[in-house]
């Protein structure tokens, strides 16, 4: 039977704007030819950074001099090794899209402070990456700003104080009122950071703007507030933790119990088009499976 199915990533909505669809990409796989990444699609990959995942010396050899220097600056071995594996994995992944060798990728910062691939040039690749604990994520798109952030949900932090300092009043209030304020804070925080990355606004700048008495101006801050008002407030985390994802016995699900199963992560991927319009695509729950967020892509700029 003949199928006439267009890939979802190319679909346009009524106003002709591209919509993103998150698509998972294999991690650790070196793509030898340029990988297909249609405009409007956002690929999400995780980078294996466990101690036995990759050959550290080999990974280190892929890094640029500045990255190696930064690696050497870490006081703790796990920070250093995680950084090395993360950067090497990022390079492998991007190299697949760029059709080049991992060690040949050169990075630069754009005026907004967002990392870009400087070489090979020209390219329209946009990416964002974040690592915390054992989880390193990379979001990749073409011609579309993306932001990804991940945090370990730590129960030992004074989240009320942090929320008061880092979030706008509405988001702060929502965190305090949440059933699980710790989780709510980390969700809001990763959302904030992912949004800042899309917007190309540094955290210090966001803080300055907030302190300057212009709450709500910083797009990311507004976004963090909207998150609270728009949704159930829950995340996939509770569901994931309930064990409903299938145990080892269910073959194709068993693989979810891989390195990303360490509980207690929150992660957010966002993408944005022109100007400051951007929207959260997905939230990664504690077990690492992306789950839909409340403000899913259907409501950009709403």
């Amino acid at each position: 039977m003949a199928m006439a199915v267009r890939p979802p990533a190319r679909r346009r909505d009524g106003r002709g704007r591209r919509r993103g669809g998150v698509m998972a990409v294999a991690a650790g796989v070196a793509v030898t030819a340029a990988a297909p990444l249609p405009p409007g699609a956002v690929h999400l990959a995780w980078v294996p950074i466990g101690a036995t995942d990759t050959d550290l010396a080999h990974d280190r050899a892929l890094l640029g001099a500045d990255e190696r220097a930064r690696a050497d600056g870490y006081a703790r071995a796990d920070d250093r090794d995680g950084f090395i594996r993360h950067r090497a994995g990022l390079r492998r992944l991007l190299a697949g899209y760029l059709g080049t060798a991992p060690q040949d990728v050169r990075f630069a910062l754009d005026p907004g402070g967002r990392p870009r691939v400087a070489s090979p040039a020209p390219n329209d690749l946009r990416f964002s990456t974040a690592r915390r604990g054992a989880l390193a994520l990379v979001a990749v798109a073409r011609d579309l700003e993306v932001g990804v952030d991940v945090e370990v949900v730590r129960r030992d932090l004074p989240v009320a104080a942090l929320a008061a300092h880092a979030l706008d009043p509405a988001a702060h209030a929502a965190v305090v009122a949440a059933a699980d304020p710790v989780h709510a804070f980390f969700e809001a925080w990763t959302r904030l950071e992912a949004g800042l990355k899309v917007a190309g606004v540094g955290l210090a700048e966001a803080e300055r703007r907030r302190a300057g008495g212009r709450p709500g101006r910083a797009a990311a801050v507004r976004l963090a507030g909207r998150r609270r008002t728009g949704g159930s407030g829950g995340t996939g985390g509770e569901r994931g933790a309930a064990g409903g994802r299938g145990g080892g016995g269910s073959g194709h699900r068993a693989s979810h119990d891989g390195p990303m199963t360490t509980p207690g992560f929150t992660a957010v991927i966002m993408a944005g088009g022109q100007g400051q319009r951007f929207w959260p695509l997905s939230t990664v729950d504690r077990r690492g499976s992306p789950t839909p967020s409340c403000c899913s892509p259907a409501a950009p700029g709403a």
């Binding site: 039977m1 199928m3 998150v22 998972a24 995780w46 990759t54 050959d55 010396a57 016995g249 979810h256």
Partner: protein
């Protein structure tokens, strides 16, 4: 002056002090050695003669005589005008020692090539088992014939004598077939380990200029070559069958290349070592002499990756000598913990199941309900519910229910969403699948909504297979969709998936007004995992792959061979579209498994005949193989049906019986667990991922439910067959008598009871590839009832070059590392100084090897080859038999020393000699010292780059028992026994060392020591002043570190943006205002402190904070 330093080293090694005394005349010297010295050389100012005074209780007179002779030889060379560097320090007795230690001339095997040697064994023992791998056993004759066929196929694919062919294979019987076939084709093999990083594989493939890469279906994606240079063994069965089973003659000879193995280079670029058939034949002669295999030498467990040359002993020498080789498939410890595509797979929807196809993914079983027309009023859904509970509890992957309308057959299941909701409510883990949802009959909104409910009820366990419909009458539900049902299904899938994702979709409302809607309830899974139901049409398989759909199919109108080709097309389409993973193929099969084969037949016969009778299509399918209809075109339905109608009842019955027999044999999962296992393996071989077991085709419910236990046993057997066996399992199962492994692997075997039991049944064990710690040697000698042999050799001199059986002094001696013994057949060994002058016994130097094992060199690396492979000038100078040398020597880079008995002692790698504060340090010596600590099982010391080019020594230790040795205890132990520069700076206790794929300690993968492991820190500067102390206190708390110095960087200590915000709030608590920008710009305590300003009116807090900090 290397020669003199050699003398010095000889004395130092014996640990008695030497004094040089200068006297005016010899008459003035005392008769005795200087007080405290074992030997004094007295040098008179008036020249002419030296006096040697020694304490005979400490220094044997014979040794003094030998030293005098060496000095005389040295002075004689100088007197002849030899440059100092070339003057020999060998006494005549030293030369004669070296000659006798190198008297290794031996006859080579008569054959010209490795494969000829194996062919000779094939002729001797054709029916003996040659290779056992998993459930496969190849006899010598079968191995030979299969390798001959593959060799011919390789030739057909362009492989010629002298070519290099890559091997990227799983560890199964075909691995051995492939190696042998490549040799038979006249080519040399190049091992490509699927576990290697992709860029390393790419480098090797490119560098070696491989003619072809032989792979398996699983490993093929890792092959960095174009399809025309790839031969996938799973895909060439038919082509192989067409080849001749006789050996091709390529004319290969001893100096043809047999293999090229890439080894790590110190420069980071791997280098290919070129070995010839003659090298390996000589090695075989050496092993024959030492290991003396008899006519029936028994079973050898081969555990080593082919990218490590010691596998040649396990796989090729053994097969040339009549061993049965059992292949150990390896463990998973170095594989990525999970197939990478899988974790976020649910985000891609179509990637569902992508991760299940790793090396050992077992064939899954699920239950498929279709319902028969046999009605059991009162308990219509008992089989569904009880079966679902059973499936949930017994590892089945899914429960499928169909959509059927208007027919008794299947009549229980008009709506799979409703049945699925019931299953959701009583199960916890099985997937709940529609098989199928006939999408053109329904509005996509309705489908999305119903299944979203089930997804919530089941906490995200819904999968849907979509079908376009096969029963025209069903379309009374949506008559308009019938004509275009395929297109309607395709666009419907698209819509359902979008709605599932939460996207808004616009549909026509009343009066043509567009209405935009979204699906509620929101499903749990962000993307809908979906299948497409395919009958036999290859186009459907391809389009399913292209759209990233999993696939549900059956064996009506297609057999397994046809299905395999279609599955391949499906996978190709999947990959070509760029979807991650490779898709999931579910195959529906009528299933009944029971303990008694005859009973199973009796149980299924009636229901199956009924089923076949009800399906005209099925009858047509089997009629074509029935004598009366042979030659009839099964597709000619009309004439066949007419023929059926015209048949006598008896004939019709015979036809039905024939159809039943055929169906039973080929199209179901029937019989005992073992019979079903064989069927399942054939299904697996067709690259199917799951058998959807159709269980409700008319067998009484109780019988079906009872049979599920046997089906569960089948599932367990499938899972067990896919799981790799451990070394102890294999030793016990196959009566393994011989094993070769690295000390690291031996260490792991010794560490657990099963491993010790396995060692206790070995007749012989070879240990090599790393220094063998004496403690381990003692343990092995005690555990292994047979002979344990320590073997040594670099890849460049063909596998093993020296051999040391573990008995007597070799086990009981005092050196921390076991001696490596004496050279094997046709092998020369010298210990040389930096000027490549041979050294006498007792003097450490670089081991240099010559003889018939010396490799041709490094592939396309002439400079490096010239550096490591040097002309042999020593053999002639010392008088070693010309038969032994081949004119070249290989510099091993290993530090060794001759014992006075002609046994080589291993002292460490020359690369591991490092300079610490100007002192030359042997890492091996430090390791050996730490090994002696009672709480230490094994120690590895590495030098990491430190300040000013000095190395920083880091010790890594495995604890001997539950108690972990403390840093202070280890340092005290080392400091009490080693000179200060050799005492490690940091100590890290690990539970296991990282191993290379070759199962050696992977020194490069050892973790950097954490700050806490560091022994002191010269860089530490204490914070000064209250504010710096307060900041340091905040950082300690925020970063959870022990100590923060004034110049420590916040982010280098593990800080990140969130912790920066945390620090800001903590600093504020202590009465100071700090912005993130300030912290980012000045990330050390010392730089930050001057920038901070007190918060007005927060004096109390500041005082309190100062109090806490103090």
């Amino acid at each position: 002056m290397p020669s003199l330093s050699a003398l010095d080293a000889a004395w130092a090694a014996e640990r008695w002090p030497l004094t040089l005394e200068r006297v005016a005349t010899l008459d003035a010297a005392s008769e005795d050695a200087a007080p405290g010295a074992g030997l004094s050389v007295v040098v008179p100012d008036d020249g002419g003669a030296l006096a040697w005074r020694h304490d005979p209780a400490r220094v044997a007179p014979a040794l003094v005589a030998r030293l005098q002779a060496r000095l005389a030889a040295f002075l004689t060379d100088l007197a002849r005008g030899a440059p100092v560097a070339e003057a020999s320090v060998l006494a005549p007795d030293d030369r004669s020692d070296l000659r006798s230690w190198n008297a290794t001339a031996a006859a080579l095997p008569p054959e010209e090539t490795i494969h000829a040697a194996i062919a000779a064994q094939v002729r001797r023992t054709p029916s003996r088992a040659a290779v056992v791998a998993g459930r496969t056993t190849l006899s010598y004759a079968a191995l030979d014939a299969r390798a001959n066929r593959l060799a011919r196929l390789l030739a057909r694919r362009g492989v010629r004598r002298g070519d290099l062919v890559g091997v990227l294979a799983d560890r199964d019987a075909d691995l051995v077939v492939a190696l042998l076939a490549i040799l038979k084709a006249g080519a040399a093999y190049v091992p490509l380990d699927p576990e290697f990083p992709a860029d390393r594989l790419a480098f090797m493939t490119e560098d070696a200029d491989l003619r072809l890469v032989v792979a398996k279906r699983r490993t093929a994606p890792a092959a960095p070559v174009a399809a025309e240079r790839l031969l996938v063994l799973d895909d060439v069965e038919l082509a192989l069958a067409a080849e001749d089973g006789d050996a091709p003659d390529t004319g290969a000879e001893r100096d043809d290349l047999a293999y090229v193995i890439y080894t790590s280079g110190s420069t980071g670029r791997p280098k290919g070592v070129m070995l010839e058939h003659g090298n390996v034949l000589n090695f075989m002669a050496g092993m024959d002499a030492h290991l003396r295999p008899g006519a029936d030498p028994g079973t050898w467990l081969a555990v080593t990756s082919i990218s490590f040359d010691i596998s040649v002993l396990e796989l090729l020498w053994t097969l040339a000598r009549g061993f049965t080789v059992v292949l150990y498939a390896g463990d998973d410890r170095r594989r990525p913990a999970a197939p990478p595509a899988a974790a976020p797979a649910s985000a891609a929807g179509g990637a569902h199941g992508a991760g299940a196809h790793g090396a050992h993914a077992p064939l899954e079983l699920s239950l498929f309900y279709f319902s028969s027309d046999a009605d059991e009023p009162g308990q219509r859904y008992r089989l569904l519910l009880e079966g679902a509970r059973f499936a949930d509890a017994h590892g089945f992957s899914a429960v499928w229910t169909p959509e059927r309308h208007f027919h008794a057959f299947g009549g229980l299941f008009p709506n799979p969403a409703v049945a699925g909701a019931a299953v959701a409510a009583i199960t916890q883990r099985v997937r709940i699948r529609a098989g199928s949802c006939v999408l053109p009959l329904h509005h996509p909104i309705r489908v999305a909504e119903e299944w979203a409910v089930v997804d919530n009820l089941s906490d995200g366990r819904v999968d849907i297979s979509f079908a376009s419909g096969w029963q025209p009458d069903d379309f009374v539900l949506a008559p308009a969709n019938h004509a275009e049902r395929n297109e309607v299904m395709a666009s419907g899938i698209e819509t359902v998936r979008a709605l599932w994702r939460g996207e808004a979709r616009t549909f026509d409302g009343p009066d043509g007004r567009p209405v935009t809607v979204r699906t509620l309830p929101r499903p749990v899974q962000p993307e809908l995992p979906f299948w497409v139901t395919a009958a036999g049409n290859p186009a459907t398989f391809r389009s399913a792959g292209a759209m990233g759909a999993n696939l549900l199919t059956h064996l009506l109108g297609q057999d397994l061979v046809q299905l395999e080709a279609k599955v391949r097309a499906y996978r190709e389409a999947w990959a070509a579209a760029g979807h991650p993973g490779r898709g999931h193929v579910s195959l529906m099969l009528h299933t009944f498994v029971g303990p008694d084969p005859d009973a199973v037949r009796a149980i299924v016969r009636g229901p199956l005949r009924g089923y076949l009778q009800s399906s005209a299509a099925l009858m047509r399918q089997y009629a074509s193989s029935f004598p009366a209809f042979r030659g009839t075109d099964a597709a000619d339905a009309a004439s066949l049906d007419a023929a059926f109608r015209g048949m006598a009842e008896a004939d019709l019955d015979a036809l039905l019986e024939h159809a039943y027999e055929r169906y039973y044999a080929t199209s179901g999962l029937f019989g005992t667990v073992d019979e079903a296992l064989a069927t399942a393996e054939r299904v697996r071989a067709a690259d199917v991922d799951e058998i959807a077991c159709l269980i409700d085709f008319g067998i009484p419910t109780d019988t079906v439910l009872a049979g599920l236990h046997d089906l569960a046993r089948l599932r367990e057997a499938l899972a067990a067959a896919a799981a790799p066996s451990s070394i102890p399992d294999l030793v016990a199962r196959h009566g393994v008598a011989h094993l070769q492994c690295t000390p690291s692997m031996a260490q792991m075997l010794v560490a657990d009871a099963a491993g010790r039991a396995a060692l206790g049944s070995l007749e012989r064990m070879l240990v090599g590839g790393e220094a063998l710690p004496r403690e381990l040697a003692r343990t092995l000698a005690a555990l292994v009832p047979g002979e344990v042999v320590n073997v040594y050799g670099p890849t460049e001199t063909t596998i093993w070059s020296t051999v040391q059986p573990l008995r007597g002094e070799a086990v009981d001696g005092t050196a921390p590392v076991v001696a490596i013994g004496t050279p094997i057949a046709n092998t020369e060994a010298y210990v040389c100084d930096e000027a490549l002058q041979p050294l006498p016994a007792g003097v450490p130097g670089e081991l240099v090897l010559g003889g018939a094992g010396v490799a041709r060199g490094y592939w396309r690396r002439p400079e490096l080859s010239a550096e490591r492979f040097v002309p042999d000038r020593i053999a002639a100078a010392v008088g070693v038999a010309p038969a032994v040398t081949d004119g070249r020597l290989y510099r091993t880079g290993d530090l060794t020393r001759w014992g006075s008995d002609g046994v080589l002692e291993y002292l460490g790698r020359l690369d591991f000699q490092v300079k610490v504060r100007g002192h030359r340090i042997e890492l091996g010596e430090i390791e050996a010292t730490l090994d002696e600590h009672p709480l230490v099982r094994q120690a590895v010391v590495v030098a990491r780059p430190g300040e000013g080019g000095d190395a920083r020594l880091v010790a890594y230790v495995l604890p001997a028992g539950a108690e972990r040795p403390g840093t202070a205890a280890l340092r005290d132990h080392a400091a009490a026994r080693l000179p200060a520069p050799m005492v490690p700076h940091a100590y890290v206790v690990l539970d296991a060392f990282p191993l290379t794929p070759n199962r050696k300690v992977d020194r490069r993968a050892l973790p950097e020591p954490a700050a806490d492991d560091r022994d002191g820190d010269a860089d530490y500067v204490a914070p000064s002043g209250d504010l710096e102390a307060t900041l340091a206190d905040v950082w300690r708390r925020v970063l959870s570190v022990e100590r923060v110095g004034a110049h420590d960087d916040f982010f280098a200590l593990g800080g990140n943006s969130l912790l920066a915000v945390f620090a800001t709030t903590e600093v504020a608590k202590r009465g100071y205002r700090m912005t993130l920008a300030q912290l980012l710009g000045a990330p050390t305590v010392a730089r930050l402190a001057p920038l901070l300003t007190p918060v007005p009116g927060a004096g109390e807090q500041r005082r309190a904070a100062a109090g806490t900090a103090a």
